[in-house]
Amino acid sequence: MSTVRAMVDTAGSQNPPADKRQRLTNGQLLLGLGIAMLAVLIIVTVFAPLIAPFDPSKTSPNSLAGPSAQHWLGTDSIGRDVLSRLIVGGRTTLLITAVAVFLALAAGLVLGLLSGYLGGMVDEIIMRVLDVVFAFPVFLLAIAVVAALGPTVPNLILTIAIVYTPAMARVVRGPVLSVKEWDHVEAARSVGVSELRLVLRHVLPMVISPIVVATSLTLSHTIFTVTALSFLGLGPPPPDPNWGGMLSEARQFMELAPLTVVGPATAIVFATLTFIVLANGLREVLDVGSWR
């Protein structure tokens, strides 16, 4: 019940100062829940081939079977085990998501730090160029690029990394602009600390909290983009399963075997929810709200 209250207590509510400790506890609980959900995702993803009871690509004459002791979630239209496909399919979906967001984060960090710390012309040029990319509707841009270049895993990763880079760069740049004026940076500079060291040791650690929260939120958005592209047929090529593709394939016979649709739907929602809960927990614990 207290996790419930924690979600309620996020941004916008005016807690009296006496509530401070209480709020921290709720934030920690939310964060704990997020970490537990993330652990489930990671364990299932990493050990997928060991956990999956069947070969996800192996067909059998026993098609569209309901749940049984052998096939917990039944089988799909060509007799493949739905649970095994879900477990292994999570790998593709989450791998694309994680690598793409990591690349966007790396690019966003470099561009945001450069832009915010150096300021002036560099800032102006970087931000204007990113503004153009940012103005593109993310999903439409991703569809166009993947449709043109072909739906392969590297293309998907690169496309998604590019469309999310501007948002990450903005998240980094904002706080850097104010932190670089702070006294401890000035003090470090006056004793002759090099510029690179200033940025990495004195500015970056101060802006890490909002970046962590934004990364978690971006992960939840990216899961939508990846699964939606796969749903449209722009996902990783078959026969490797992925959640969006499974949901799309299963639609044809879903009234005969509802679990073929409910399975991937639940997986997508669980993964998205994980990063939303994580982001809210982190925001509470790291107290990012007070940044603005």
């Binding site: 309620v8 916008g12 593109f136 841009l141 047929g233 929810l273 939303i276």
Partner: protein, 313 residues
């Protein structure tokens, strides 16, 4: 004010040029020969391929090709479909109207739901606030294509007599048309309503803590009057802004939802074109949809600047 509008307008033009350039370059970056893709088969004589190249201007420098293409696009010539060999523009307007209608209904549903839950959350606090925020957090994690698929599944399982796949054009039967768009619009609106709800809540909470609201209460105005004339009126600006900025998510989502509900709009057209590798159609739809989003964002910005005297550029 004129300065703000002009700057924003010039900036929008730059972005639109960027969009068109990217869309153009992508179609030239297709793996393989564009002329072969246009011919629709591998076994075409070299003479025919040359004719296609000349016809499409593929033998000219790339930048010249871009401006030629842009000129044609601006005068309404978006090329011919690889599949039907008909001009793209002969099919697109009818599709666009359907998508526009779906998006509009979804926006109305989203605003109604979002403002109602956001207001309830901010005014009643306590248990209602809790409930709304948990609900918002959960719904935010459910993508629109999952909602749509589950609605179709539930309807098929429990209400098989409901025929949800028969889209009726507006002109043949307006009532049946609205009915056929209601469920798709709802699945499209759900996630957007959460964003509107959260923003409504934040806006109302912020405004209700301000002095002029306290003065209004202190001088004995009815709570109802304060709510209507002070809170809602002032919160409306951020709410409309947020709704405007959700157009991208509504248009993007309509691609998925139309495919699921078999609605003959722009989204389903795009889905079919992706599957048949009909690149001119993909290009046209992406450019059109992106332009609509960018133009709406511009209008929202300008409207915001006009309403809010604090915005000065």
């Amino acid at each position: 004010m004129i300065r703000v509008v002009l700057t924003r307008f010039a900036w929008t033009l730059v972005i639109l040029l960027g969009v068109s350039f990217v869309a153009f370059m992508l179609m030239r970056a297709l793996p393989g020969d564009f002329a072969i893709a246009a011919a629709g088969s591998q076994s075409v004589s070299p003479e025919v391929l040359d004719a296609i190249r000349r016809d499409l201007g593929l033998d000219r420098p790339l930048l010249e090709q871009y401006f030629l293409w842009l000129g044609h696009a601006l005068t309404g010539d978006l090329g011919r479909s690889f599949v039907t060999k008909q001009p793209v523009l002969s099919e697109l307007p009818a599709r666009f109207v359907v998508t526009f209608q779906l998006t509009l209904i979804a926006a109305i549903i989203a605003m109604t739901m979002g403002i109602a839950t956001g207001l309830a959350s901010a005014r009643m606090r306590g248990r209602t606030d809790w409930f709304v925020r948990i609900y918002n957090g959960l719904i935010l994690a459910v993508p629109n294509f999952v909602v749509a698929t589950l609605i179709v599944l539930l309807a098929g399982l429990y209400f098989p007599q409901l025929s949800i796949f028969n889209y009726t054009p507006f002109l043949s039967d307006p009532i049946a048309n609205l009915g056929s768009l209601l469920l798709p619009a709802f699945s499209l609106a759900l996630a957007v309503s959460v964003t509107i709800s959260e923003n409504t809540r934040a806006a109302v909470l912020e405004i209700s803590s301000q002095d002029f609201v306290m003065v209004a209460r202190a001088k004995g105005l009815l709570p109802r009057t304060v709510l209507r004339n002070y809170l809602v009126r002032n919160a409306l600006t951020p709410i409309i802004t947020v709704t405007g900025l959700q157009v991208a998510s509504l248009l993007g989502g309509s691609i998925l939802v139309e495919t699921i509900f078999a609605i003959p709009g722009m989204g389903q057209y795009l889905f079919d074109s992706i599957n048949s590798r009909d690149y001119p159609v993909i290009q046209a739809i992406v450019v059109l949809a992106a332009s609509v989003v960018i133009l709406v964002n511009m209008l929202v910005d300008i409207a915001y600047a006009r309403v809010d005297a604090r915005v000065k550029a």
